[in-house]
């Protein structure tokens, strides 16, 4: 009996440690969002932006923070290790298509982690004092489009991440390329500075690229800072990019797998 009890205690401790980490993570999320809001409030004191109002921007910051793990470009260590350390050989033995396996793996990770982490913000942020709070969506139609765009965004982001994993077949090491990939996705996805606050030319450029469609568009639709017809057009563009990236991704993967190099020993 004693050993079962100690086993139970051990498990409980592990779970509690995870809980401490979860609470810590929650704190971090709130801290980031509030700090960004404070900075934007200071900017808006002097002048306002024509593209997005402060209230809209605050909601945008909250949502982005809530769904950050969905839209961020942090790559999966497990998949990286597969290629860098040679475990890819086991994967290749399985009678499945490696591209789609990675795609759905990334998708599942992003969904499970992402939606779970968004809950605290979505519950607490709307009730913060005015000027800090997450506002309701601009309208019912906007909300529906937001949900559609968000799901497409997750799939699109998973597809973008897959490009990175495929690139590992060529570079063989994620050191360095990892941070280049991260910088590009975060910048063009509007995480360094919201796309609505970029100069005109850059905004247009960013919305042509898939990164902003995955990491910025849903939240702008929610706040109502772009009109409905444009939103509809961008959602179609999301679908087009998704098809484009996944189809080219599968073709490249299949081609590359014919001469794949297994590392490690």
């Amino acid at each position: 009996m004693k050993k079962y009890l100690s086993f139970f205690k051990l498990r409980l401790n592990i779970a509690l440690q995870y809980r401490a980490a979860a609470i810590g993570g929650m704190f971090t999320q709130f801290f980031w969002a509030i700090m960004q809001i404070l900075i934007f409030q200071a900017f808006y004191k002097a002048t306002t932006s024509n593209n997005i109002s402060l209230e809209q921007l605050i909601s945008y910051v909250w949502l982005k923070q809530a769904f950050y793990s969905i839209i961020s470009a942090s790559t999966d260590v497990e998949i990286r290790d597969m290629i860098e350390k040679g475990n890819i050989s086991y994967e290749l033995c399985k009678p499945t298509n490696i591209y789609w396996m990675w795609f759905f793996k990334t998708l599942a990770n992003k969904m499970a982690g992402g939606f779970l982490k968004s809950i605290p913000i979505l519950i607490i942020a709307p009730f913060l004092p005015a000027g800090l709070s997450l506002n309701a969506p601009a309208g019912l139609l906007e909300f529906i489009l937001f949900i559609i765009a968000l799901f497409l965004a997750i799939a699109l982001m998973a597809a973008i991440m897959n490009i990175f994993y495929i690139s590992l077949f060529y570079t063989m090491s994620s050191k360095g390329t990892n941070s280049i990939f991260y910088a590009i996705v975060e910048f063009f996805g509007g995480t360094f500075v919201p796309i609505a606050l970029m100069p005109e030319f850059w905004q247009e450029l960013c919305y042509m690229l898939p990164f902003s469609l995955a990491a910025d568009l849903p939240f702008r639709i929610y706040t109502g800072s772009i009109n409905l017809s444009t939103s509809g057009m961008y959602i179609i563009m999301q679908i087009v990019w998704l098809l484009l990236i996944t189809i080219s991704g599968t073709i490249i993967t299949n081609k590359r797998l014919k001469k794949v190099v297994i590392q490690g020993g």
Partner: protein, 258 residues
């Protein structure tokens, strides 16, 4: 000290062995800071100023904070990844050697690729200084150097604190990133733009205000109080408790791993 430099030199040589990977990492670290600088520029294109601070003034702060953060990341990588040292039992080995444990933990890693960021930060500081009309004199040069030292000391304290907590938690805590990453982000803007409670925290608890706000007021000629310039010295008061926590942590240490 001699041992320290010798270890660092070896770690540098080790990284230079993988030439291609090294170059790509440098480009990567340069690119991130470069795009972050562009982002700050975009914000000022849209808004022109924040509080009564202009782009070049903020760019100067941004450059200084990121410079010292990158230097800390380069030299203190071992403390940043301290949970690994604890987890695999490496710390036992450190304790039996006749050298300072903190120093040894620091030189387990050295991230040379951060040189890309440092370069980028120096460029940003250079550009903003040429566009700011500062009336330089010997004292102001001294203040400028002191600011950088103070800023580094704060990050040093934060990294030590972050590592010390690993003695209790074994795991690295995401929470501690609020101080390192968060502090970096907070300190790139002059702290008078924030709400009061926020300002107090970052002046008296984690003293970023002492290295970026007050000395800069004096440096830019926004205030005449000469003693604003020596406030960075007080960052030592932040470092002392951090080292104390470390010392307590070492006493508390129980071996793990195999």
């Amino acid at each position: 000290m001699k041992v320290y430099f010798k270890t660092i030199l070896m770690l540098i040589k080790m990284q230079l062995e993988y030439r291609k990977a090294f170059i790509v990492s440098v480009i990567g670290s340069f690119l991130i800071t470069f795009l972050l600088t562009i982002s700050v520029y975009f914000l000022f294109e849209e808004f022109e100023q924040i509080g009564n601070w202009t782009f070049y003034e903020v760019a100067f702060l941004f450059g200084m904070v990121f410079l010292n953060f990158s230097i800390s990341e380069m030299f203190l990588r071992g403390l940043d990844h301290f949970e690994n040292i604890i987890k695999n039992g490496e710390f036992d080995r450190i304790l039996i050697r006749p050298q300072n444990a903190l120093m040894q933990s620091t030189c387990t890693e050295f991230d040379l690729s951060k040189i890309g960021r440092i370069l980028q930060c120096l460029i940003v500081i250079g550009i903003s200084l040429t566009n700011l009309n500062i009336e330089w004199n010997l004292y102001k040069v001294f203040v400028f150097v002191l600011m950088n030292i103070g800023c580094f000391i704060i990050f040093l304290g934060i990294f030590i604190l972050k590592a010390s907590f690993c003695f209790w938690t074994i795991q690295g805590l995401e929470f501690m990133n609020i101080l390192s990453e968060g502090g970096k982000k907070v300190a790139q803007y002059p702290i008078d733009i924030y709400a009061k409670w926020f300002r107090i925290f970052f002046t008296f608890i984690v003293p970023f205000g002492l290295v970026n706000y007050y000395p800069v007021l004096y440096l830019f000629g926004k205030a005449d109080n000469w003693y604003f310039g020596i406030l960075p010295l007080f960052t030592i008061l932040f470092l002392i408790p951090c080292i104390l926590v470390w010392k307590i942590g070492v006493k508390h240490y129980e071996s793990t791993g195999s």
